[in-house]
Structures are given as C-alpha cells and as structure tokens.
C-alpha cells in the first residue's frame, strides 16, 4: 500500500524537483476558492464605499494580488526549508511583539500595529503562523510516548503562552484566544490527550470569576475594554444591534446589491473591516451568507484535506494549525457579527478591508500550499 502510494507520487528526496512541476502541483481548487473569497471581498467593499471602487475595493484588490503572488512563491519553497526556519520565525515573531508593545501605534484602543518598510503589520497575526510552525517542529518527531509525557509538554505550553501573554498585553483578547486555540489544535493533532485540555479549561473557568471578583473597579473596567476594544462611542452594544439589524433585514434573498440601508446609510461604523459580513448578508440575504459560509468552509476543508494527505508529521500539524487559524478567524468574526460573543478586532479573512490580516493569512496559505506540493518529501535530521 505504501509502495503503491510511492509509485503514484514520486518521492522527491532532493531539491531538483522542477519549479514548473511544483507550480502545477499547487492545489488550484484551493487557489480558486481563495480568489472567489477575494472577489466576494471586492464586491462587499465596492458596496461599502456606496458603489465605488474607491477607497476600499481597488486598494484591497492590489494587496490581494500582491499577497497571492507571495503565496504562490512560498508554495514552491521546499517545506523542509520552512521547517528549518520555524524557530527563527518564532523568535522574530516574539521580538516583533515586544517591539510593537514598546513602539507600536495605538489603533482602536490597543497597541497592535507597527509599520515595517511602509507596510502596516500586526505581529500578532504573523505570530499565529510562526507559533504553528514552531509547535509543528517541536512535535513532528516526538513519539507517542513522549507526547504523553507532561514534562515534554511543558516547554510546548511555554512556547504557546509566551506570545499569548504578549498579545494579551496589547491588549487583544480575541487574537490571544485564537492564538492559544491554534496552539491547542496543533498539540491535539500531535496526540496530546483531550482531558489535558479539559483540565486547563476547567482551571481557567474556575479561576476567572474568582479573580474577577477580587479586582478593583478600575481593573474590571480595563477588562471590559479588553473584551471590547475600541469601545463604541454611541453606547454599549450599538455596533452589535446595528449589525444584527443589517443581518436580519437582509431576509432570504437580500435587499439587493448596493441597496442595503444599514450599509449604504452608514449605520455601521467600520463596516468595511470587522463588520464586512453584514454587507453581504444585508444585500444578498441568507442565500448570500450561505454561499460565503460555504466558501469559507471549503478553505477549512481543503486545509484539513491537505493535512490528511501529507506524508510527514510536520506538514500535517502545520496544515492543521493553518486550517484552525482560518477557521477561528471565521468563527470569531461571524459570532461577533451575530452578537454571540462580545469580542472585537477580528476581521473576516480575505473579505475584510485591511492588509495586515490578509498578508498573514496568505502567508499561511503559501505555507499550506507548500505542504501540499511537498507532501511526500522525507525529512532528515538536519531539517530540524
């Protein structure tokens, strides 16, 4: 059976695997789905500007095309090179987080942006990918027994908690939780028992209210802003109410493109970023939101498929982590838009306006495609 698979997929033991073949080996269905989502984003941003390609849609399109090119280039970089750079990237990510904490500029109530060579980047977005790589690197050669060993797990937990703590300090609860969950996903994929996660969850659940109770008022207020960064000027819950009205008024088939009153009349602040989904839902209705949901899930599904098809543990864990990252983005953003969770600051990947999240996600997709292209390579000891 293994021989069969070897026969079908010629193992490339060296780097002579031709660029053209690598290019053709990219999962083009995945690329199509990504492009379709970017198209949805263009449509929504065109509408957000009141039916104009300026100021959002076109500039986002150029960013996407740049990011797409970057993704295709990374897809052809040997996964083993990427694996070798895992810890370096992790270190760079941590340094960037520290830099942004010290020098970054404040946006929407939190310090999370920095400018690097004219490009605004959010280190926390990059960190999620770098953490995935680092954890995959840590776990990919560990035996089942070692993974079961608490002492082996503790450094991994530290690797996760360091960036999570730094992101919390920004403060950006949403991304911190997502980062922690990505770490958990990779560790779970690596074989860590579920009850170990359960213990952590229970400890946090028990500790949180007790801690909260012992806090001073100003500290609690800080936590509330922490939960809801960029607290809205028009009163608590304004965004959520307007967002739900936008979703609900869309109905089954929508109010028609460029005819959503909530969107066109600016009832939603910053609708082109975090609340971009409401534009689709209001103007294209339930049908439109289901189509977008299906496209989003197809990305998650293909990432999972890539993980399952990969012959090496590193690729599997990386693909799982990148899929989890994308999934969590979607889940947190959609839940926020529907008013299910009070967290802000998480865009809808590929659709929301903004370069930093897009770049980070496309970087991850490049790595994912690299896993796909290099699913059959064999790792040597020197690769780690």
């Amino acid at each position: 059976m293994i021989n069969n698979s070897v026969a079908l997929h010629r193992p490339f033991r060296d780097r002579s695997f031709g660029l053209v073949r690598k290019f053709l080996a990219i999962n083009w269905l995945f690329v199509l789905c990504v492009c379709l989502l970017a198209g949805v984003g263009y449509t929504a941003l065109y509408s957000a500007a009141g039916g104009a390609s300026q100021p959002y849609a076109n500039s986002q399109l150029y960013r996407f095309l740049t990011a797409l090119l970057m993704m295709l280039v990374i897809a052809m970089v040997d996964i083993r090179i990427i694996a070798r750079l895992s810890w370096v990237s992790y270190a760079i990510g941590v340094v960037l987080l520290l830099v942004v904490m010290k020098f970054g500029h404040t946006g929407l109530g939190a310090k999370r942006w920095m400018t690097l060579g004219g490009v605004e980047i959010q280190p926390s977005e990059l960190m999620k990918l770098f953490l995935t790589l680092a954890l995959a690197s840590y776990f990919c050669r560990a035996s089942h027994e070692r993974v079961g060993n608490i002492l082996f797990l503790l450094p991994a937990v530290a690797v996760v908690l360091l960036p999570v703590a730094l992101i919390l300090k920004e403060p950006n609860l949403g991304t911190a939780v997502i980062t922690a969950l990505i770490g958990a996903s990779v560790m779970y994929g690596a074989g860590v028992r579920w009850w170990k996660f359960a213990i952590v969850v229970v400890v946090i659940a028990v500790a949180a209210p007790v801690l909260y109770h012992h806090l001073h008022d100003y500290q609690r207020a800080r936590i509330i802003t922490f939960l809801n960064p960029g607290s809205d000027p028009l009163g608590a819950g304004y965004n959520i109410i307007q967002s739900k009205i936008a979703l609900g008024s869309g109905g089954f088939s929508g109010q028609g493109y460029l005819h959503g009153t909530q969107n066109q009349l600016n009832f939603l602040p910053e609708k082109q970023t975090d609340f971009v989904f409401t534009i689709i839902a209001e103007e294209f209705g339930f049908i439109g939101s289901m189509a977008v949901l299906a496209l989003l899930f197809s990305i998650v599904g293909i990432a999972l498929y890539t993980a399952l098809r990969c012959q090496h543990q590193f690729g599997r864990l990386v693909a799982l982590g990148i899929g989890a990252n994308f999934f969590l983005y979607c889940f947190v953003n959609l839940s926020m838009v529907m008013g299910l969770i009070p967290v802000g600051g998480v865009p809808l990947p590929l659709i929301s306006y903004g370069g930093s999240a897009l770049t980070a996600v496309m970087l991850g997709f490049g790595v994912l495609m690299s896993v796909h292209v290099h699913r059959d390579v064999e790792f040597a000891a020197k690769d780690f």
Binding site: I2, S143, H144, S185, Y188, G189, A190, G191, Q242, K244, I245, A246, L247, G248, S249, G250, G251, F252, T261, Q262, Q264, L265, N266, F267, A281, G285, F286, S289, M290, L293, L296, F297, V300, G301, L304, A307, L308, Q313, R316, L320, G323, A324, F327, C330, F331, L334, S335, M338, L340
Partner: protein, 636 residues
C-alpha cells in the same frame, strides 16, 4: 515506518474530529443566520426602516379666498425658509451656533427659536428664518455639513392682492401663539398661520387643510440622503366669498379719505356683495409679524382702522330708522297710510323742545311725505303713539339690534332699547327718550350691516340674513338662494307703503336724496337718508343747526343712506355710513348712487364662477354582474 503509520492513523482520527467540530460550528452559524435572516426577518426589517426613515410633518397650503368670480382675494406666495429638525442633530446647540454665524438673527428671533425648541417635540421642525435671501441660502447650502438637521424648504406666505380694500372682509392671518401651538401640534408646524379676523378667522378650519409629511432617508449623522415620500397634505379649501371685487374696489374708491362703511347686499339672498370699512390697513403686515411702531399707530388712530365698521361699528341710525318706526306703528294700528299729523317745526314735551330738521315746519302730512322730506316732528309723534317696545319688536323683525348671525367674527348686534332693557340697567326712561327714538337717536346704536339688512328686508319682503361666504370648496352654501329664507313677518301692504315712500325720497324733487337718483333708463333706486347727531349739542348749537361745518370733525354728525334698487324688482340693497360726514344726502347718498349704478350694470347677484368640485369616486356600474358577487367567488 511503523511508528509513522501509527502516528498517521492517530492524526487522521484527531484531524477528522477537529474537522467535524469545525463543520458542526459552521453549521451552527448557518442555523443562527437562518434564524436571524429568515425567521426574524420582518422584525429586523422594521428596525432597519426605523433606522433610516425619518418623517417630518409639513404644513398644508392654506386655502384661497376668492370673490364670487374667482378673483383671488387671499393667496399664497412661495418663499424660502430655513427649518431645524432637532431630532436629526446630534448637538442642536452647536448647529444653532453655526447657523447664527451664517445668517443674522435678531435677539427676538433667537429668543423665539429657543422657546420653540424647548416646547416642541423633535419631529416638529422649528422655523429658524423666514424669507431667506440668496446670500443666506447660499451660505446655508455651502455649510450643510456643519448644519445637520437644518432644512431649507419652500414656504408659503399669505398675500392679499387687494390689500387694504378687503382687509376687513377677508381678514388676516398671523403666526399661532405659543399657547395655540402647544394645544394643537399641527399649528406648531412652521408656516402654519391662524386666521385672526374676517373670513380668514371665520373659515379658519376650512382654509387650514390637513398636514402632509416628508419621509427622508437619513444616515446615522442625521444627514438627509434622499426624499422617500412626499405627501403635500390636503390643502385648505377654497372659500369663495359673495363679494364682487369690482364693486368692492369702487366702494373703497368712493369712500376715499372719509371714515365710514359701505355694505351692499343681494336684497333677495342677503349675500354681501361689497363690504368696505374705511380707513383700513394692509393685512399682509400680520403674516410676517407687525412692527411694533406700525401696531402702535394703528391702535392710536382715532379713525380706528383695525375695526370692521361695517359689522362692528355702532352708529345712531338717525332718519334711516324712520321706516322701521312707521312699520311698527302700522303693525300696531296707530298709523295708516292716510293718517295726517302736523309738523310745526318743533315738538314741545314738558320743558323740552324737540326741533324738526332745520327748524322747518312741514305742515300736515302723511307718512309717505314725512319719509320723503324726512320730517322729524311727524315721527316724534308716531313714536309717542306706538311706544318703544313695539318699535324694538319691529326693529328685531327688520334685523336691527339683533344678532344677524353673519359669518364673520366680532359682529356687533347693536341696540334698540326697550323698557326692560332700561329697567335692567337702572335707566330712567323719560318720554323724551321715546321721542328721539322715533328719529333713530338716543340709545339706538346699529351697524351698517344691520341697516343694509333692514333695507334688504323692506325691499324683498324676505327675512334675509347677511352672509359673506358663497362657496366652500366649490360647494354652494345655504343662504345663497332666496328660497333659503323665510318671508318677512310684515304685512305686504305696509311694506308697499314704505317702498313707495322711499321711492319718493330719491325720485321726486322734494325728496331728500333727489340729487342722487339713478340716471339709468327705467331703473330707479329707493332709499332713505339719515343725519345722526353724535354729540350732545349745546344750547347755542341747538339754536343754530346742529350739522354745521364749523364744528370739530369728531363732533359733526354722521351721514347715512340706506337704499335698494331697482325699485320694481329689488335686487340690491345698500347702506352707507360716513362718519362725521354731515348730511346723509350730501355725502352718503351719492356713494350709494354710484355703487348701485355699478351693481345694476354688472348685475353680480346670483351669478358666479364656481370652482370645479373634485370628481366624485367612480361608482360601480349598475349592470356589472361581478359587483354583486360575494367576495371570493369567481365567475368561471
């Protein structure tokens, strides 16, 4: 390799679990979206509507007032004005400050705006500035982003093409008082006016109409994005008066500088064809708000321009009262057409001498001659014979000293005294008072309208009531037709005697108004002059003539004339009162002649140009079978 296989199997299991969880969560999101978007759609759709659509009431256009031929007497003129919707402004005070920087507002205006803003709910716009000029408009338009909630719109102001000529009959409008605006929110709308006098006040409800609304789509900043719906409301109804503008203009022109009043009635229906009161004022002043100085001067003028003398000016009728006295005496049986009484130039009662006009002795005369030459002594004696109660009774029948129910506000009933009236007021009724009652002096106070009604009733033998409104919204009002009125409760033969005597007054050389007879072929006017003392003359004055041009203006007697024409088949009745105009024959009768001539030549009575009434909703065709089918049943 073996380890790798085991790892891979474990990973596959775990990855599929993760994938399943992810799919499950996506499905849950889908279900939640279904609930929000499909199941709760109508609820959220309503909220979205409430979010974006703001509604504001707009003042309806006030109805027109026209004369009987459709000439506009009160119309509307468009102008630009700035309104402010508080509900649309996040910070109303900041907007007001910005507005004041652009458009100059007087301290009075600022105080009014502050009061209005405090009083009115947010959906009622508040007037910032009326009659915007181009620089103001431009300043506002350019600075729209700084003025959320400020709306520039077309407003209507009331215009009166005839100005003072119809100021009293048509009346005027003014802004509602804050108190009125509080009791009726419609009145709080900018541009709403309330009729204060004349027809504007009397028909205010008909003229007002019902407010409309403008629905605008606004964004979260209160900026109007577009107009969704515009309902202009129901404009007020057109009120067509019985007035003939031509006749009215002539009446005003003939009054000239004299203070006084003229009323021309359709003798058969009581319609007021002309009603002038001099001096008058510009009714348009009140629409914009009268300047204090103008108001003061209007109030101080001794000739009382604001009062409609035709319906609320009270004058002693003088000799124009004599026909009523004669009718009362004939009804009581103390006077017949053949009764002869003697005039020696005066009547002595106790120690008081009552002079005849000009101290002239008329000799032995009957009632016809007494009216023709306007003998006072004859009527002194008649008054003593019949008594004031019977005179008052006949006066009421003739429409004198009684509420005529005219459709104009502030009409005075006037007074014809009775013994009961005197007793109630503790007045000692001397016989001398009865004597002067015979010639329409003393306590008797009547309006020109009442006098016109009296002469119209004598002319037509119908108990017509004076009224000015002919059609509302094109619908003819009751009273326009002579059959709408009851016959007069007076013996026709008595009326014939009086009509004949009044004919003699105008058309015989001995008659007091012979100089003012009509010059139209085959048409004669009948009438009665009157010269009423307004001043308790001194003994010296009584020795002379009481109507002397040497007296101060305010002490001179009022000149009166009542008349009707044509004599054969009366159509028009007229009453003219010239304040302090000395002789009725001299100043009042010529005006009556000219107006009568115009009326007979143009003959407006019974004619008009009706407004086309709005089409009735189409009725179901009678022969249509389906119209009789119960609903839900279809014909196959």
């Amino acid at each position: 390799m073996k380890r790798d296989t085991r790892d891979r199997a474990g990973f596959t299991r775990r990855a599929l679990l993760v994938g399943t969880a992810q799919l499950g969560i996506f499905a849950a999101i889908g279900v939640k979206l279904y609930k929000l978007q499909v199941q709760q759609h109508s609820q959220y759709a309503m909220m979205a509507q409430a979010n974006s659509i703001s509604e504001r009431l707009v003042a309806p256009e006030r109805g027109l007032i026209t004369d009987r031929f459709g000439t506009v007497l009160a119309g509307n003129q468009q102008h630009w004005r700035a309104l402010f919707m508080q509900a649309l402004a996040p910070d109303p005070q900041a907007v007001l400050d910005n507005f004041t920087k652009l458009v100059a507002l007087s301290p009075d205006e600022q105080a009014r705006i502050a009061g209005d803003l405090a009083d009115r709910p947010g959906y009622i716009p508040v007037l910032l500035k009326d009659y915007l000029d181009w620089p103001d408009m431009a300043a506002i338009e350019v600075n729209t982003p700084d003025l959320p909630g400020v709306i520039v719109e077309v407003g209507a102001s009331r215009v009166y093409p005839f100005g003072p000529a119809l100021a009293h009959a048509v009346g005027y409008v003014a802004r509602p008082t804050p108190r009125e605006a509080k009791t009726d929110t419609v009145l709080a709308l900018p541009g709403m006016r309330v009729g204060r006098t004349g027809t504007e006040a009397e028909q205010d409800e008909e003229l007002r109409g019902a407010p409309g609304f403008v629905q605008t789509e606004t964004n979260v900043h209160g900026e109007v994005v577009r107009e969704v719906a515009h309902d202009p409301g129901t404009p007020g109804q057109t009120v067509a008066l019985a007035i003939d503008a031509g006749l009215q203009n002539l009446a005003v022109q003939r009054l000239g500088q004299d203070a006084g009043a003229v009323v021309v009635l359709d003798a058969n229906s009581g319609e007021i064809l002309a009603m002038a009161s001099n001096p008058a004022f510009d009714p348009a002043l009140f629409d914009k708000g009268v300047p204090a100085a103008t108001w003061e001067s209007l109030m101080k003028d001794e000739r009382d321009p604001l009062q409609n003398k035709a319906i609320s000016g009270l004058f002693a009728p003088g000799s124009t009262f004599k026909p009523t006295v004669a009718l009362a005496a004939m009804k009581a049986g103390v006077l017949t057409p053949d009764t002869i009484l003697t005039c020696n130039g005066s009547l002595t009662l106790g120690d008081h001498i009552f002079w005849c006009d000009n101290h002239v002795a008329h000799g032995s005369i009957n009632v016809t001659t007494a009216l023709q030459v306007s003998c006072d002594v004859f009527f002194y004696q008649v008054a003593l014979m019949v008594g004031i109660d019977k005179i008052a009774e006949m006066a009421t029948t003739m429409g004198l000293g009684t509420d005529l129910g005219v459709d104009l506000p502030n009409a005075a009933a006037g007074l014809v005294p009775t013994h009961d009236w005197a007793r109630a007021r503790g007045i000692y009724w001397a016989e001398g008072s009865t004597v002067v009652q015979g010639i329409g002096q003393g306590y008797t106070q009547l309006t020109p309208l009442a006098l016109a009604t009296m002469i119209a009733r004598i002319a037509s033998g119908v108990a017509v009531g004076p009224h000015i409104t002919r059609r509302i919204g094109g619908v003819l009002q009751s009273g326009a037709d002579p059959d709408d009125w009851l016959p007069l409760d007076v013996d026709d033969r008595h009326l014939a005697v009086i009509r004949n005597a009044l004919f003699e007054v105008v058309n015989t050389p001995a008659g007091t108004a012979y100089a003012s007879r009509l010059t139209l072929p085959g048409v004669q006017m009948a009438g009665k002059t009157g010269t009423a003392q307004v001043h308790d003359n001194t003994a010296a004055e009584k020795q002379k003539n009481f109507n002397d041009m040497t007296m101060p203006w305010a002490d001179r007697p009022n000149a009166l004339f009542v008349g009707f024409a044509p004599y054969d088949s009366p159509r028009y009745a007229i009453a003219v009162v010239i304040e302090h105009g000395n002789f009725g024959a001299q100043s009042a009768a010529p005006i009556a002649r000219d107006l009568m001539t115009y009326a007979i030549q143009h003959d407006p009575a019974g004619r008009d140009v009706p407004l086309t009434p709005p089409p009735a909703p189409p009725a179901a065709p009678a022969g249509d079978v389906s119209a009789n089918q119960p609903p839900g049943l279809s014909l196959q």
